[in-house]
């Protein structure tokens, strides 16, 4: 498919129909995956797709269309249907027209075409990871490797054009010693050279072995040392809550707190449209605004929400280049590095728990940030700076603001995290938090 031609057709036909503004965003993606369980392949997958997203406005009314079949013959009919639907809609009070400055964006960089060529190697990567886990002590491993390429092409009726392409390869491996003892490993990279399947397997296998004979903890408050995987799960949610849409909708604990202290002074959080090594992002957002680096939290103080054109008009500020036609979203989150080694962080804990993985984070109330999350895989009790044994059957129950306000220190080393439970790529250190509430189930 000729994406330039499709975009030109969409914009031309939209203008003919009488649209005030139009955006055509076409994309193509190719995703390969192998999944395995019990050290054996369960399925190999390949998904090759193209897609077309269209944004039309008329008299401050907006409609968004998504079609997976953007052939020229069907585009015209699709546009007519979209345009017709505008007539029944109410005007939006915070409607903001598209930027009129003509711009042309190219790829931001970091693309590795070699990831397209892993077709014959991807099973070998899985084998490498499984074998490393087995050597480290695992009885069996399950997991998935995903190698994907995506290109997108944007054109607006105001003369903005953009093209970008992204690559990434992700491994998620979980190793088991028995039904009670498991470990987790990830390798997430935008380049093939940065992919470490053996290392991720070794970590998963080592944790599975260390988790032998876990005990249930007493309920109470503990210092918690969150791995980059666990911390990223919560930080990606902070990224979502920093979206001005969420703030306006009453579904963010960060509402009304600009300029206020919402985290510890050692904690800084940024969003980057593009960052070296980042697994997502591009040079332009879905409205054709340039993406940027935005400091969300600086030394604990909430500095900025993330905006598109509509939310920035409502909040009387400028777009941060995070559109989303409906809501702004983070691209790549980065937590500042600390100055501690892992062993030093463990040494700081009097009564604590090291958590290596978690899942199922859910909120009592998005507005207050009250939540709980369920640790899984490696979890270790620490007393007076020493690891005393493995734990299971626990739950962290607290508020996001209290957790990030109680960050004592962080590691110097950081990792990129993106997996089943972390959808926004996040560069994150180990994070040590004081006084976190831990509960366990009755029965």
């Amino acid at each position: 498919m000729d994406h330039q031609h499709v975009n030109e057709t969409v914009v031309r036909e939209a203008k003919k129909l009488g649209a005030d503004d139009a955006i055509s965003l076409s994309a193509v993606s190719d995703e390969q995956m192998v999944r395995f369980a019990n050290n054996s392949l369960t399925v190999a997958k390949r998904i090759t797709e193209t897609g077309l997203l269209v944004y039309l406005t008329k008299n401050k009314r907006r409609v968004v269309g998504a079609s997976s079949n953007p052939e020229e013959s069907s585009v015209k009919g699709f546009l007519q249907k979209l345009f017709k639907s505008l007539k029944g809609l109410p005007a939006e009070p915070n409607y903001s027209p598209l930027p009129t400055k003509r711009s042309r964006y190219g790829p931001a960089g970091g693309f590795d075409g070699k990831i397209a060529e892993v077709e014959n190697e991807i099973s070998e990567f899985a084998r490498e990871s499984i074998d490393a886990a087995s050597r480290a002590g695992a009885a069996r491993s399950a997991g998935a490797i995903e190698a994907s390429l995506a290109s997108c092409y944007l054109m607006t009726s105001t003369g903005i054009e953009g093209h970008d392409k992204r690559s990434k390869i992700l491994l998620n491996i979980r190793s088991f010693l028995d039904h009670e003892s498991s470990g987790h490993g990830l390798s997430c990279s935008s380049t093939l050279a940065g992919f470490r399947p053996g290392e991720a397997g070794r970590r998963a296998g080592e944790d599975a072995k260390k988790m032998a004979n876990p005990k249930r903890p007493e309920q109470g408050e503990y210092g918690i040392l969150m791995s980059p995987t666990v911390a990223s799960n919560l930080i990606a949610l902070v990224g979502d809550f920093s979206s001005a849409f969420s703030v306006d909708a009453g579904t963010s604990y960060l509402a009304g707190k600009l300029g206020e202290k919402v985290a510890s002074s050692v904690f800084t959080l940024k969003d980057h449209g593009w960052i070296r090594g980042g697994l997502g992002g591009r040079a332009f957002d879905d409205e054709g605004s340039p993406t940027q680096s935005t400091t969300i939290i600086e030394r604990g103080v909430l500095k900025s929400y993330l905006h598109n054109l509509t939310t920035s008009k409502k909040f009387k500020t400028k777009s941060t280049g995070n559109a989303g036609w409906i809501e702004p979203n983070p691209w790549n989150l980065e937590v500042s590095a600390g100055d501690s080694a892992f062993d030093e962080l463990v040494g700081e804990m009097r009564k604590g728990i090291i958590l290596t993985s978690n899942w199922y984070t859910r909120f009592t109330n998005y507005r207050t940030g009250e939540f709980s999350t369920v640790p899984r895989d490696g979890a270790y009790l620490v007393e007076k700076g020493e690891v005393k044994g493995a734990l299971n059957g626990l739950r962290v129950s607290d508020t996001l603001e209290r957790i990030f306000s109680s960050v004592r220190s962080m590691s110097e080393s950081r990792e990129w995290i993106e997996w089943w439970e972390v959808h926004t790529p996040t560069l994150c250190p180990w994070v040590l938090v004081d006084g976190v509430k831990v509960t366990r189930a009755y029965g």
Binding site: M33, A44, E49, S123
Partner: protein
């Protein structure tokens, strides 16, 4: 683009796969249309229209399973993709120590449609706008409305269509229209907030809107939320009796019975993502609850969100009795898990889209009704809590350690409902929960939910439900 135009591509793919040495092959044309509308605090957001069709191809070569998908719907692309899928299966078979086998389930030849009196296609283009406009008006004029500071209201309609064929002779065509509502209401007063997430949905035509009684339901929930914010006091802690509403019974049935009885989890296939199970392949007959614990999953329920009377492997489905009188009765199976465990397939294989592999899924999971009235159940309780709705919930990946935080909840004293209590926490193991069931009411009510599983993730529409369920001697906590 419509389904009839694309059927030839499925037949082409199947022929190419078989000619290339596939031991088993299936092709599924899957897609449809959708329409969505959102109000945020009464302000219109962009309307959304979707139109999507593609083909999913699944086959087995040398004992290895491969799945591919595309929405580039021309003969050349589909032929090439099928050949690549065969090649992919053969290339990865070296890693497939355990060969994939399918059981000999009877292949269905069926054309099923969710009943609809008024077809979605006939809708006034502005109907979702009018629906949400009226909900917004009611919520902002209900008792205590000034406290409802924030509102997200989303309504969507969709028509899902499929054409599935496989090398064992299945040929299944289907059409399932659905209406779905999602809302988040936030009440605020004196620096305190309370929040209610509402999800409603069912299959059917335009008449589903009236049947669901959406406008009145959301208005009712808004008024209750303000009551909870203003009046709820401390819940009792320690050991009490608990009555779970149909909403709570349903989520507990889904999370701690439906999920751990998915056979693919038991066999470890989802180990790195959604996890495994506290049950094993030989757990059929194991006592996990009291004699009053009876839980089922039924894909044949008319109007249901999880309506799927023939599954996505082309096998006719049926109601499954997951727990009978406290004992594990059957797991949820597809053709592969039933072959591996040497049992009968009950056709629970579902896929959300052309680009998603069919895997073992729930449909409509519920606690079976009993013979109490609600008043009779109340009279059984001297000191307890009635949990009518919930907010936060989660469960570990073996499905053994779960938690539900109540929103609308009442103290029960000597068989009578008393004051509202704030955020009681039911944090309990699966055997303790189902082992404490003492009684169930006669009615059966359902809530809509979207169940997540798979990699890539598949959020699939389901119902969760049940009657009121009495749990005896439960330790409650509070937030």
């Amino acid at each position: 683009m419509n389904l009839d135009e694309l059927k030839d591509l499925a037949h082409l793919s199947l022929k190419v796969a078989q000619d290339s040495g596939a031991e088993y092959a299936e092709a599924r044309i899957h897609g449809g249309t959708g329409n969505g509308y959102m109000l945020k605090n009464g302000e219109a957001q962009p309307s959304i229209l979707e139109d999507s069709f593609g083909i999913g191809i699944r086959l087995i070569c040398k004992g290895a399973l491969a799945f591919s998908a595309t929405n580039l719907l021309d003969r050349s692309t589909v032929k090439d993709l099928t050949l690549r899928t065969v090649k992919m299966a053969k290339a990865s078979s070296g890693l497939a120590a355990k060969k994939v086998k399918l059981d000999d389930s009877k292949a269905a030849r069926a054309n099923f449609r969710a009943p609809e009196r008024e077809r979605m296609e006939g809708a006034d283009p502005s109907w979702l706008k009018h629906l949400l406009g009226e909900i917004e008006r009611r919520v902002t004029h209900c008792k205590g409305a000034s406290a409802i500071a924030n509102r997200i209201l989303i309504a969507s309609s969709s028509i899902e269509q499929k054409y599935l064929i496989n090398s064992d002779g299945a040929r299944v065509e289907s059409r399932v229209p659905r209406l779905h509502f999602y809302g988040v209401l936030t009440a605020t007063e004196n620096g305190q907030t309370a929040q209610r997430t509402i999800q409603q949905g069912e299959s059917g035509g335009l008449e589903a809107e009236r049947r669901m009684n959406l406008i009145e339901k959301v208005e009712h929930e808004a008024a209750l939320l303000v009551e909870v914010l203003k009046k709820a006091g401390k819940p009792p802690t320690g050991v009490v009796d608990v009555i779970l509403s149909p909403e709570l019974s349903g989520i507990a049935a889904h999370e701690s019975v439906g999920h751990p009885q998915e056979a693919d989890r038991i066999l470890g296939r989802e180990g790195a993502q959604a996890g495994e199970s506290y049950l094993r392949g030989d757990s059929i007959g194991r006592k996990v609850g009291s004699d009053e614990a009876n839980i089922s999953d039924d894909p044949t329920l008319l109007r249901s969100n999880g309506y799927s009377p023939v599954d996505d492997e082309g096998v006719s489905s049926r109601k499954r009795r997951l727990i009978k009188q406290g004992r594990v009765s059957e797991f949820l199976h597809n053709r592969s898990t039933s072959a591996e465990l040497g049992t009968v397939n009950n056709a629970a294989s579902r896929s959300t889209a052309y680009n998603r592999e069919p895997i073992v899924r729930m449909s409509n999971t519920f606690v079976e009704p009993g013979d109490f009235t609600f008043e009779e159940l109340l009279r059984e309780v001297k000191d307890g809590v009635y949990m009518k709705s919930f907010t936060e919930w989660n469960i570990d990946d073996k499905r053994l350690n779960q938690r539900y935080v109540g929103l609308e909840a009442y103290r029960i004293k000597n068989g009578e409902l008393k004051e509202l209590v704030k955020a009681p926490v039911l944090e309990i193991t699966t055997p303790a929960l189902w082992g404490s069931v003492k009684g169930r009411t006669k009615e059966l009510e359902f809530e809509a939910a979207t169940c997540g599983k798979g990699d890539p993730m598949q959020g699939i529409p389901v119902w969760t439900g049940g009657p009121h369920t009495l749990l005896i001697g439960i330790r409650l906590g509070s937030r």
